[in-house]
């Protein structure tokens, strides 16, 4: 942690965002799985063009919270979400909100790379196709190429876009999944431990990519690795036993945590 050197920059950066309204804002979010409560009154603001890392020990509710943001929890029968989550002044749990539309705005990358067992091209083109984002073959080709380029995969796969996506290596598959997510032009990208199944080199590649993507998207990433959170994120939120313990600038969380539990977790005493 190069705290001393970056203090000035880090202090300057949040200042620009505090004026702008948060991209995503969660208030009093409680989640229940049947009778068991998994999240307790979570309040969290996520700002545009920043990477927000959600950290915490296993079972702390960070993934549950992430999946609330694009309503993936809807698919679990026993799951119930209370509270308000607002994206750009729109309550995403309001009655009139269409989940399909919401998920076109809030993309997701999963823990295990899960490309469709189709060609690389079809993987990336699937989202634009179902949402009708491309008016013709040429435009679709463009979207696929741009997305693969942004995901840093284009040079590796441009000659074999017709081959199955499942034939790629783990790291390439995960970048393919990222390309697939950004092809829909979402505003927010949720990443659920995107590197936990990858080796360190592939992980480094994805982390670089996340940093580049920040310019265009708002990114929320769940991670088990505190080093990763420190490397890629600007904001960090620490969850413990379903409670949002502390949130703030990544720098501050890792250097001067306010809460004892955060302190204990980042120094490795609990977790």
């Amino acid at each position: 942690m190069q705290a001393a050197n970056t203090v000035l920059i880090e202090e300057a950066e949040p200042a620009t965002h505090t004026n702008a309204p948060p991209k995503v804002s969660a208030r009093d979010v409680c989640v229940y799985y049947g009778d068991k409560q998994a999240l307790f009154d979570v309040d969290l603001d996520i700002h545009a063009h920043q990477v927000t890392a959600l950290i915490g020990p296993s079972g702390c509710g960070k993934s549950t919270f992430l999946r609330c943001l694009n309503r993936m929890n809807d698919t679990i029968d026993i799951c119930r979400v209370e509270g308000r989550i607002v994206i750009d002044d729109e309550d995403i749990y309001a009655r009139h909100v269409d989940v399909v539309h919401l998920r076109a705005r809030v993309g997701m990358v999963f823990q295990k790379p899960n490309p469709f067992p189709k060609s690389i091209y079809d993987n990336v083109a699937y989202g634009p196709r179902i949402h009708g984002l491309a008016s013709g073959k040429d435009e679709l080709d463009d979207i696929v190429e741009t997305s693969l380029r942004r995901a840093g995969l284009w040079d590796e796969v441009k000659d074999r876009a017709a081959e199955p996506g499942t034939g790629l290596s783990g790291g390439q598959q995960q970048r393919l999944c990222i390309a697939r997510a950004i092809a829909v032009q979402p505003e927010v990208i949720l990443m659920d431990e995107p590197c936990s199944a990858l080796d360190p080199i592939a992980t480094a590649r994805i982390e670089e990519l996340i940093d580049e993507l920040r310019e265009q998207f708002t990114i929320v990433i769940v991670t088990h690795s505190m080093q990763q959170a420190a490397r890629v994120s600007q904001k960090t939120a620490f969850f413990h036993l379903g409670v949002l313990v502390e949130e703030g600038d990544t720098e501050q969380i890792f250097t001067t945590p306010k809460d004892d539990r955060t302190q204990a977790y980042i120094t490795g005493r609990i977790g």
Binding site: N70, Y126, I130, R180
Partner: protein
Amino acid sequence: MTSETLPDSGTIRDRNSDKSALVKAGLKRRYAAERRFRAYGVAGILFGLGCILLLFYTIGSNAIPAFTQTMLRLDITLDPQDIDPDAISTANYRKIVRQPVRALFPEVTSRRDKRALAAMLSPGAAYAVRQMVIDDPSLIGKRISILVPLSDDIDQLNKGAIKASSDETERRVSNKQIAWFERLQDFGLVETVFNTTLFTAGDSREPELAGIWGAVVGSFFTMIVTLALAFPIGVASAVYLEEFAPKNKWTQVIEVNINNLAAVPSIVFGLLGLAVYINFFGLPRSAPLVGGMVLALMTLPTIIIAGRAALKAVPPSIRDAARGLGASPLQVTTHHVLPLAMPGILTGTIIGMAQALGETAPLLMIGMVAFIVDIPGGVTDPATVMPVQIYLWSDAPERAFVERTSAAIAVLLGFLILMNTLAVFLRKKFERKW
């Protein structure tokens, strides 16, 4: 192993060597048990294989004679006096085919012997000549050479199933007929040819004229109806139950009932078909339409159960990926889940269809057991199916039907093996490609 269980436990090394001896003693027993288990397994498999080989051997050896037919070559003069060119189809062809045979045996004069001589020819001989003349009326007035079938008894005599050495009262061929047949053989007029009738004709009371084509076509129409009903309904039910239905006690009740349905004896479905389709809705009796509808009921649970298993086997991560991109529930299913589950569903469907193809009992209830000579032309024509044809032939008194029964079984088994091979092939080809 602790010191308490070992008497005289001294140093750790002592205890260890004791333990190792104990383990060694036990190892022998464990390996022996393993070898015994393997031996039981191998014995079981060998027994199964032996049974299958025996089945194939008996059916095959019984069926082989059915693939040939004993024919007689006749030179027939189509006299315009016998055949009125204006009424070709009504001429007396029986007389026309008998004349050249009688000409070969001028010494046969008594009425009784003449009839016995004529009986050596199959009734099919006259039909064959008639068909030939109808096809080409210009033959009238000419002399033709034609192969006509001999009767089933002579055919069996030729194939050795009826032995000339046996007592005359115990066989359906008289000594005189045997003598005549031997003379025909001496003339070089008897030929044994491939039995095309077996594969092109419908059923007949005369074994030498009976074929399985009518039953094959009947089975085909029945299977088409079954597939057209059971596949879409079964897949739709499986998809709804697996992907869309809420998991509550109603869906549980439905699930239990579908599993129960799979265990219902097939004849019960036949009774249901008789009561509902024929008596209530007034659909035609003996028709592949009704047969197919009954078999569809029977096949549905198989397809639904196999379909649900196949859908369940699609990894949830694929569903998540599609949902995460904003695919609607129907798109998730039709674009991703269903195509991935399709090989499994098809395997289940083929196995279900193979069961339906071999089913007899429910079809007896709805009248598909009738004696039907004509080849069915559609799903509402009276028809029978292969297993029912086998059942009918196995019941027939003529010796020649024994080999035809086996031949029909061989054909049915051929279709079943083909279908199951296809199922295995599909399963292997598309196995887990994610």
